[in-house]
Each structure stands twice: as structure tokens, then as C-alpha cells.
């Protein structure tokens, strides 16, 4: 029984093991130099992947074909909206954050509207939506180089005892997400839909409402992520979210969430987020060229997923 349990837990343990191995390899290379700083940097960068990763995780858990490809465009637009609303003024920080949240949530709601009303596969719906959002962002954020208010930039970069405060807050948030997933009706409904949408419907789950909430939640998380990114990097731009398309999907799957839906894992998202950031740091430390770095990143992603393995076929 115990061995079965460890087997079940395997997928997400892998991501933490991977992160640890990569970290050890790097400090072995540097001779112990910068070990702590590396963790701090990894934590503060992983935060952004984890936030969108959690949103993407809920969406992917809804079942095969569910994925939000509009996150990069969403992050870009929300970062512009947040910076514009804040207007460099410390007093407007909360309003700006709320505006980014609302912007992201609206995008998520529109995504689901397209999926529901036009019965388009989510991949294509969120893709089409992302084209439109991207244009809105280009047109709205044209030449926009508004700096975040100093207070907000400081907050996004704030560290206490070598640990980024944003990372602490995100840990609290992910604990909440884990509770929502495993202990709340909402999360259980998401899992039920992912396992068998028809069975969930027959069991009385309001499938439409849960899916709507999930896409909206994912959009809102993308929005807040955009605002935080603009604060951390001290400025918004159209391309700020580009890398989070692949990253958000990668952390979910490396973290042990099933792409087939119905099986989600919150801690794994953290492990995978740290793993990806540390991997990049390691390859940078080794001083490899951009090409080699990309090749190794890709091979390691494929290697990890191969080692973790897919789940056995149901039939």
C-alpha cells in the first residue's frame, strides 16, 4: 500500500528532485559560491510562472483540449493597463492591481464565451482571442514606457531575510489554491469534470458555471501576473508575457498534473517553476551559448516527462 502511494506521489516529487539536482550541480560548479543568492533569485522569478501555472493547471484539469493560449497576450495587456492606471502614483497601486485583475478576468470570461457560444475547441478559441488581445495591447500600449510607481516596484522586489516577500505571498496563495482544489466544491467539481464531463453533469455539477469560473480565474491570474511582472521589471511592454505560454504549460505538466485532465497537483507547480528557473540559471552559470541552452532546456523537459512517465491507459 505504501509503495502504491509513493508511486502515486512520484510525478510531483520529480520536479523538486530535478530542481534540487540542478541547484546542487550549479553550486558544485561555482564551488559553493552564490548558493543562497541563487535560491533567492529563483524564488522571485519562479513566482510569476507559478501564478499563471496555477491558472493554467485549473484549466488543463478541466479535461482534454482545455488550455489557455491567451495568457501571454493577457499578461501583456494587463501589465499595460496596470501601469497606465497607476500612472506612476503610489496612491493608485491598489486601483491599478484591481484594474489588471478585472482586465484579466474579462479576458478569461470572453474566452469561455467563445468556447461556449461558438463551441470552438478551447485551443482555437483562446488562440483567436489572443490575436485580438494582442492587437488591443499594441494599439493601447503604443510607445507606452510608463514606469511603475516606486512603491510598487519596491514591493515587487522586496525581500525579507533573503526571501522575496512576493514568493511568501505566492506560497500562501498556492496553499489556498490547493485547498480550493481538494477541499472545496469548486475544486472537486473541476476534477470531476476533467475525469468525465458527462458523469459530472449527470451527478449534478453545473458544468457550464464551473468552466466559466475556471477560465475567468485563469484570466484573472494572468492579469495579476502581468501587473506584478511590470512592477518587478520596472515597466510594461507588449512582449512581457511571451515566455509564459510555454512556461505555464510546462510547469503544469512537469509538476505532475495530467494533461488528460481530472488530476491536478499544486505543489508540483512550485517544484517545476523552481526547476525551470534554476535550470536556466545553471546553464547561464556554465556559460553555454544561447543555442546550447535552448537545446538542453528542451532535452531536459523531454527527459523529465519521459522519466516521470504518462499515466497508464484507462482502457
Amino acid at each position: 500500500m505504501v509503495s502504491v502511494r509513493t508511486l502515486l506521489e512520484k510525478p510531483w516529487i520529480w520536479s523538486f528532485v530535478g530542481a534540487l539536482v540542478v541547484w546542487l550541480a550549479t553550486i558544485a560548479f561555482t564551488g559553493g559560491y552564490g548558493a543562497g543568492g541563487m535560491v533567492t533569485a529563483a524564488l522571485s522569478l519562479a513566482v510569476f510562472t507559478v501564478i499563471v501555472g496555477i491558472g493554467q493547471m485549473f484549466v488543463i484539469t478541466l479535461g482534454p483540449g482545455n488550455v489557455d493560449l491567451s495568457l501571454p497576450a493577457n499578461i501583456g495587456l494587463a501589465s499595460a493597463v496596470a501601469m497606465k492606471v497607476m500612472g506612476g502614483n503610489d496612491a493608485m497601486i491598489v486601483v491599478g492591481l484591481l484594474a489588471a485583475l478585472a482586465c484579466g478576468a474579462a479576458i478569461g470570461a470572453i474566452n469561455y464565451l467563445l468556447i461556449w457560444a461558438l463551441r470552438i475547441p478551447p485551443i482555437i478559441a483562446t488562440l483567436s482571442a489572443s490575436f485580438i488581445i494582442q492587437s488591443v495591447d499594441i494599439s493601447y500600449g503604443r510607445g507606452l514606457q510608463i514606469k511603475p510607481p516606486p512603491g510598487f516596484a519596491d514591493f515587487a522586489n522586496w525581500q525579507a531575510l533573503g526571501i522575496p516577500v512576493l514568493a511568501m505571498l505566492t506560497v500562501i496563495f498556492t496553499v489556498g489554491a490547493a485547498l480550493a482544489l481538494q477541499r472545496m466544491i469548486y475544486g472537486r467539481s473541476v476534477l470531476a469534470i476533467g475525469q468525465n464531463i458527462r458523469a459530472a453533469w449527470l451527478a449534478g455539477v453545473d458544468v457550464g458555471r464551473i468552466r466559466f469560473l475556471t477560465y475567468t480565474l485563469c484570466g484573472a491570474l494572468g492579469g495579476i501576473d502581468g501587473a506584478l511582472l511590470a512592477g518587478y521589471f520596472r515597466g510594461a511592454n507588449v512582449d512581457i508575457g511571451n515566455e509564459y505560454l510555454l512556461a505555464s504549460i510546462a510547469v503544469v505538466v512537469i509538476g505532475g498534473t495530467s494533461v488528460a485532465g481530472g488530476k491536478a497537483n499544486v505543489p508540483g507547480v512550485w517544484g517545476a517553476g523552481l526547476f525551470l528557473v534554476l535550470l536556466l540559471t545553471m546553464l547561464n552559470t556554465f556559460g553555454v551559448s544561447a543555442g546550447v541552452r535552448l537545446v538542453l532546456t528542451g532535452l531536459i523537459i523531454v527527459g523529465v516527462i519521459t522519466a516521470a512517465g504518462g499515466e497508464k491507459a484507462v482502457r
Binding site: 482534454p64 483540449g65 488550455v67 493560449l69 467563445l114 461558438l118 463551441r119 470552438i120 475547441p121 485551443i123 482555437i124 478559441a125 488562440l127 483567436s128 482571442a129 489572443s130 490575436f131 485580438i132 494582442q134 492587437s135 488591443v136 499594441i138 494599439s139 503604443r142 510555454l246 504549460i249 510546462a250 505538466v253 512537469i254 494533461v259 488528460a260 551559448s289 544561447a290 543555442g291 546550447v292 541552452r293 535552448l294 537545446v295 538542453l296 532546456t297 528542451g298 532535452l299 531536459i300 523537459i301 523531454v302 516527462i305 519521459t306 512517465g309 504518462g310 499515466e311 497508464k312 491507459a313 482502457r315
Partner: protein, 325 residues
């Protein structure tokens, strides 16, 4: 004879209307292409000419080939998120090694098709999600492309330039090429018995396995075909652009998926259409820039217009599918 007639008649009537809806659904990709063409003709009549089509559809051929590549994996219920960077990698190899050291270039390209076949085997044997494996591979191809060609440049081999600049009489080359691609793939996938098996691996894998077919083999063949058409797409692209860049194909991943769906394909169930996919790719290529330029849509909003066209076509398809039921 008369006794059978009343029995068959009421049955055949709804079947007839379902067939009509199915036909309409099958024609939808062609209808959307016609619509885009009519719009272009109305906005700029001079564009509808031998020269105009050559110009407007130039880039449609690599897109069509990439879309066909994507269609093969989709036929097996998988998705290839690396096709764009793969096309870029092939492009970089084409513009460098294939010109300077043809033998090495050919070996590398054949090897990359082999890598695709191996990926198919890996995905099947370890039961891995293809989205993640190809996501990882997209980094690998991009990295390799940068290693092969760190800076934009290189030059297409002369024989490739000669093929692409071929000017057949009356019918513009891109249209001829599109017809050829559609016909060949349609015959291979829709009209041969192994083509039916390949599609069946996406439609009902369990049934195929029980009938004694190797699912490992179908997966390998589908992925190898994706690699093959990815290579063709890269070759065509470099023939047209004459030089390469590591990022040259990045947009193709999403374009190819959109093209397959626009052409009537579905993500699951092995329901794909090679002719539809080629038409979908042409529609996207035409709608992407010529139409929007003629409509005087500012560059800022061109991407949005692309998204809107996708949504409109898919919405039309849903309306028709609803009648099919």
C-alpha cells in the same frame, strides 16, 4: 419492389438532409476561401491575375505544407507544438549546409525526420502527452537552428531557387503546387487502405489494436510524415525567402493548427481533411496580409483581424454542424 419503397423512403429523407449538411460542412473551407477571394477581387480587381496570385500566395505554400504536417499528428489525436521551430531549423540547415555540403545537409534533414519518428515511438511507448514532448522539442529545434545559423543569413541552394521560381503557363505556381499537395496527400491518407488505418488510430485506437494493427507503427508513421512535410515546408520557405533566420518559422505552429481546424479537421477522432487543410492554409495566408492590406486595416489591428476571421469561420461551421444533428 413497391413494398420496399415505403420503408426506405422516410429513412432516406432525413439521411438526405444530413448528407446535405455534411456536404455543406465539407464545402465550408472552400466557401470561406471563396469569400476571402471575392473580398480581395472587390477591393482590388487587379490582384486577381497571374502575377497577383503569384505574389499573394507566395508564402502560402510553406504554410500549406506545415499545415499538412500538423494534420498528420492531429489525425492520430496528437498535437505538434514544435512544427514552427522545426521549420525554422530546416530552413537554417537548407540555407547553409544543404548549399555548402549537400550530402551532410541531406543526411541532417533525413535524420531530423528520423527524430520525429523516434518521438512518435517515445510518445506511444511511454504514453506521454504529445503537447509536452513537442513543447520541449520546440526548444531543441530552436536551439539547433541558432547553432547552425547564429545570425540571419545564408543562401538557398540554386536548384531550390529554380524550382520555386518556376513559372508554369496560365496557372500560377503556388496554385499548382497547392493542388498537387492536396491531391497527393488526399490520395495517400483518404484513398489508400493504410491511410484509413492511420486515421483509424485517431478514431478508435482500441478497435485497431484488437484487429491486430500495430499502434506503435501508426504513431511512428504519422510522426515521420509530419517530419517529412515539415522538411518540405522549410525547403519551400527558404526557396521563397532565399535566406534564413532561426526564428523564421516560429509563427507556423499556431498557423498550422488554425489551418487544420479551419479546413474542417477535428482535434480528436482522426477526422481530418487534407484538401480542407490546404484550403485552410490558403485562406489564412490570403486573409493574413493581402486582404487586410487592401482593406486598409492599420497594421496594429491586422493580428486582431486574423483572430476575428478565425472566429467567424468557426462560428459558421458550428451553425452548420448544429443542423447536421
Amino acid at each position: 419492389m413497391t413494398a420496399i419503397a415505403p420503408g426506405t423512403l422516410p429513412k432516406s429523407a432525413p439521411r438526405g438532409s444530413a448528407a446535405r449538411a455534411r456536404l455543406l460542412r465539407g464545402l465550408l473551407p472552400a466557401l470561406s476561401l471563396a469569400l476571402v477571394l471575392i473580398a480581395i477581387a472587390w477591393l482590388n480587381p487587379r490582384a486577381i491575375s497571374y502575377f497577383g496570385f503569384n505574389l499573394m500566395l507566395n508564402l502560402a505554400i510553406p504554410i500549406a505544407l506545415a499545415t499538412i504536417a500538423q494534420m498528420f499528428v492531429i489525425a492520430g489525436n496528437e498535437l505538434d507544438l514544435s512544427i514552427g521551430t522545426f521549420v525554422g531549423f530546416v530552413g537554417c540547415v537548407t540555407a547553409t549546409w544543404l548549399r555548402d555540403a549537400p550530402l551532410l545537409g541531406i543526411l541532417v534533414l533525413l535524420g531530423s525526420i528520423g527524430v520525429y519518428a523516434l518521438l512518435g515511438a517515445l510518445i506511444y511507448l511511454r504514453n506521454l502527452p504529445s503537447i509536452v514532448v513537442t513543447l520541449g522539442m520546440s526548444f531543441v529545434w530552436q536551439g539547433l537552428a541558432i547553432l547552425v545559423l547564429p545570425k540571419p543569413g545564408g543562401k538557398a541552394p540554386d536548384w531550390l531557387l529554380a524550382i520555386v521560381s518556376f513559372k508554369p503557363p496560365y496557372i500560377p505556381f503556388p496554385i499548382l503546387a497547392a493542388l498537387l499537395i492536396a491531391a497527393v496527400v488526399h490520395f495517400g491518407l483518404m484513398r489508400t487502405s493504410y491511410g484509413a488505418i492511420l486515421r483509424g488510430s485517431g478514431g478508435n485506437a482500441a478497435a485497431l489494436r484488437r484487429a491486430g494493427w500495430s499502434l506503435l507503427r501508426t504513431k511512428i508513421v504519422l510522426f515521420a510524415l509530419t517530419g517529412l512535410f515539415g522538411v518540405l515546408s522549410g525547403l519551400a520557405l527558404i526557396g521563397i525567402t532565399t535566406s534564413a533566420d532561426a526564428n523564421i518559422g516560429n509563427g507556423y505552429t499556431l498557423l498550422s493548427i488554425a489551418g487544420v481546424i479551419l479546413g474542417g479537421g477535428e482535434f480528436v477522432g482522426g477526422r481530418v481533411s487534407p484538401i480542407g487543410a490546404v484550403i485552410g492554409a490558403l485562406t489564412l495566408a490570403l486573409a493574413a496580409s493581402p486582404l487586410l492590406t487592401f482593406m486598409h486595416i492599420p497594421p496594429d489591428w491586422q493580428v486582431a483581424a486574423n483572430g476575428a476571421i478565425l472566429i467567424i469561420v468557426l462560428a459558421a461551421r458550428v451553425l452548420i454542424s448544429r443542423r447536421e444533428r
